[in-house]
């Protein structure tokens, strides 16, 4: 039974692939058949896909409307290709859509959390488009993302209140990077590097929600961590060696999370949440802490 990446890669050799090793574990531990696992994955993929597309055309209404309409703007801009190209701009539009749906108390699939629910769907849609993946290939990549996420949940944390945004959007980016390497048919070595690179790129990222709302900077972080996932996978697939093994990067993430002061862990007391403008928004929306 795996509990870290090293052991997962070892089991993958025997099972034939990383996806198969994660599948076997899920079936054994939770008494499910292969069909049941895939049916559950397909249900979640549908919720993810829907949330990533829902706000592209119609802005969502939410408390304060701080991020309402972001997805539509980015979607329109993506058609011009901008400076970072259409793939990146489209990925950001999808990530922003899920963030809008989430903020409006709509239905999302947490991956690993609701605050970070935009990253994985946006990256999966982008990567699947680029390599023309089948539904089955997408679900296999989701299995791997889930396995990677389980390791990071167990060995670090996915709670922003415990580990900052690096534990939410950062872990989501590492899961998504693992999924992209899987879709690309990469090796375990490349997958490990993609996870490490993604985590290195966001290490120390704080959780500082303006007015305690899951809107700003959350939506921008979903968009930028989706991009982090894509470029980390690209670097690993180009043959960049992360040098630091993924299990050590996860351990570092956990330690950094514990050393972050409470003000930077989802308390809206530090970071941009403590800015003058954020304070004004908090007062205007009457979002003060409980007394």
């Amino acid at each position: 039974m795996y509990h870290n990446f090293a052991k997962l890669f070892e089991e993958a050799e025997a099972a034939g692939s990383i996806a198969k090793a994660v599948l076997n574990n899920e079936m054994e531990q939770h008494d499910l058949t292969e069909d049941e696992v895939y049916t559950k994955l397909a249900t979640r993929w549908l919720v993810m896909r829907t949330s990533a597309q829902k706000a592209l055309e119609a802005p969502r209404q939410m408390t304060g409307n701080l991020i309402s309409g972001q997805s539509k703007k980015q979607q329109k801009y993506a058609k011009t290709r901008g400076f970072s190209g259409s793939v990146i701009n489209q990925a950001m539009a999808w990530a922003l859509s899920s963030s809008e749906v989430n903020a409006s108390m709509g239905r999302v699939c947490a991956a690993p959390t609701a605050g970070a629910c935009g990253v994985l769907p946006a990256v999966m849609l982008s990567a699947a488009n680029e390599c023309d993946a089948s539904e089955q290939e997408i679900l296999e990549a989701l299995l791997v993302a889930g396995g990677a996420g389980a390791i990071m949940t167990r060995n670090a944390t996915v709670s922003g209140a415990e580990g900052g945004c690096q534990a939410e959007c950062g872990v989501a980016a590492a899961m998504a990077a693992a999924a992209v390497v899987t879709l690309a048919g990469g090796t375990a070595q490349q997958l490990g590097s993609a996870v490490s690179i993604a985590l290195m790129n966001c290490m120390g990222l704080v959780c500082d929600p303006v007015a305690g709302l899951v809107q700003l900077p959350c939506s921008f972080r979903n968009a930028s961590q989706a991009v982090n996932a894509l470029i980390s996978a690209d670097m690993a697939l180009a043959g960049q060696d992360a040098v630091i093994p993924p299990d050590e990067a996860v351990e570092a993430l956990a330690k950094v999370g514990r050393s972050l002061p409470s003000a930077l862990r989802e308390t809206s007391q530090g970071g941009v949440a403590a800015s003058k403008t954020a304070q004004h928004i908090t007062q205007a929306l009457k979002m003060d802490a409980l007394s």
Partner: protein, 221 residues
């Protein structure tokens, strides 16, 4: 890996926060199942990040929604206050220091119609996962990811053996068993995490055992 990939790729839920909305709803729902008896008033003492971002994250609505039995993926969570008022349930949220617990913790007090109350402490530990850490006088550790059975009993020799005999008879496999007690020979609590559903007949039989005072099954999976 004991943790299911569906705890990570999930839950499917109503936003905006897996810990502060979905986790809060699940925590209160599990707590209400443990409390069992109907209640006319419920109080939530919130600490740490829970107290600081409460309204912005919809934690107030989610806790109330869970207490009145809604699931984390129920779109009615946004209307929890209206639903609770309609059901004649009063509620209060306040800030409480629970520094020894996780950042996202709550102390829930259910005031039952028979003038008794049930106090439960728990935390939302990330990604919608929860941990109930204390029920009344008993320390515990309940995640409610598998069917869980709580048995209040007197601390007497052979009680655990009888409980497990009945479970074995109904082919219920025990994954984890944790025991705690107020003191030798006094009130005790056994928590069983099991692999499969516990049939009602088993619960009835367990309830009839000597020294067993109450059996509560929590199954929200």
């Amino acid at each position: 890996m004991e943790l299911s990939i569906f705890e990570v790729l999930g839950p499917v839920m109503i936003g905006p926060s897996s810990s502060h909305t979905a986790g809060a709803a699940r925590l209160a729902r599990v707590a209400a199942e443990i409390a069992q008896k109907p209640f006319g008033r419920v109080e939530f003492g919130l600490s740490g990040s829970f107290a600081k971002t409460c309204r912005g994250h919809g934690t107030d609505k989610a806790l109330l929604a869970g207490a009145i039995g809604l699931s984390p993926d129920d779109e009615q969570i946004a209307d929890a206050e209206k639903l609770a008022a309609k059901a004649g349930v009063e509620w209060r949220l306040y800030r409480e220091d629970l520094d020894w617990m996780h950042e996202n913790s709550v102390h829930i007090i259910f005031h039952h119609e028979d003038d008794t109350s049930t106090e439960i402490w728990g935390s939302s530990i990330g990604g919608g996962r929860i941990e109930i850490t204390r029920i009344g006088d008993f320390e515990t550790r309940i995640h409610a990811e598998n069917p869980t059975m709580l048995v209040n009993h007197l601390d007497r020799p052979g009680v655990i053996s009888e409980l497990s005999r009945v479970l074995a008879h109904y082919e219920v496999n025990i994954a984890v068993l944790r025991l705690s007690r107020v003191g030798r020979g006094r009130q005790a609590n056994a928590m069983f995490i099991v692999d499969n559903e516990i049939p009602q007949a088993a619960v009835d039989e367990l309830n009839a055992l000597p020294h067993v005072e109450e059996v509560v099954v929590v199954d929200v999976s």
